[in-house]
Amino acid sequence: MTSEQPRPEPRPCVLLLDADVVVRHVLAEYLRACGYQVVEAVSSDEALAILTHGEPRVDTLLADVTAPGATMGFALARHVREFFPSVDVILAGTPARAVDEAADLCEEGPTLARPYDPQLALNEIRRLMAARQSARLPET
């Protein structure tokens, strides 16, 4: 009789780059729910600092193409492909596209299943963005 042992391999790691905290949080929770380790970055500078640090080892960079930083968008993708060739790079231009890409990542692994309908994640992003827009805390 054998007992199930936890996998020795670390969970695949997604470096999620998005400057909008609401979009980033919902996408990160979605990817975590399907088993990925997710590291969050708000700018390309932060993303490159995390990649250079090397811990955790990043497998995939999912980046908002408009995220700020010294190396933006397609230039960031080129830079990562050149200096971190083991990292898959996915660029997304809109939250909807980013959710689609996250859903595809969840189809590929590590649990081979989407945690829930990605449309729910997109709806949550839209709800939080709308609430933030209409209920900005007043300046004091």
Partner: protein
């Protein structure tokens, strides 16, 4: 209901900590430590981002904020604003340049550099205290 059909409870499945820290690697370490303890963690890289989180309605049970960060206001100002608007929300302030007295107004203070275990212990104690009040 299957797992794939389950509705996400992004803001309510566990105690949620809003971590406000502009140093990505510092943020990474403390956020991972909190997640390992079962917390839902929302990451913000500035006080402005933290306000955007709170304005969006995401439920947060405690704010753990650095003081000196880029942006139009710092972590102390964030703590001051939250004390006025959300006096029930614990705010733990961390800084390498201030002491407890300098962080007057925060619910708690943790001097930088800190060990994740020390931050966790303080966060647990503040949340327990909040739950008992």
């Amino acid at each position: 209901m299957t797992k794939a059909q389950a509705v996400p409870e992004l803001a309510g499945r566990s105690k949620a900590i809003l971590v406000v820290e502009d140093e990505a690697l510092v943020r990474l370490v403390i956020c991972e430590a909190l997640r390992e303890q079962g917390f839902t963690v929302v990451e913000a890289a500035s006080a402005e981002e933290a306000e955007a989180v709170l304005a969006s309605g995401l439920a947060v049970d405690l704010v753990f904020t650095d003081v000196h960060m880029p942006g139009t206001f710092d972590g102390l100002e964030l703590a001051r604003r939250l004390r006025l608007r959300r006096p029930d929300l614990p705010v733990l302030v961390t800084s390498g340049r201030l002491d407890q007295a300098g962080a007057n107004g925060a619910t708690g203070f943790l001097r930088k550099p800190y060990l994740p275990a020390d931050a966790l212990a303080l966060i647990f104690s503040l949340i327990r205290k909040e739950a008992m009040e």
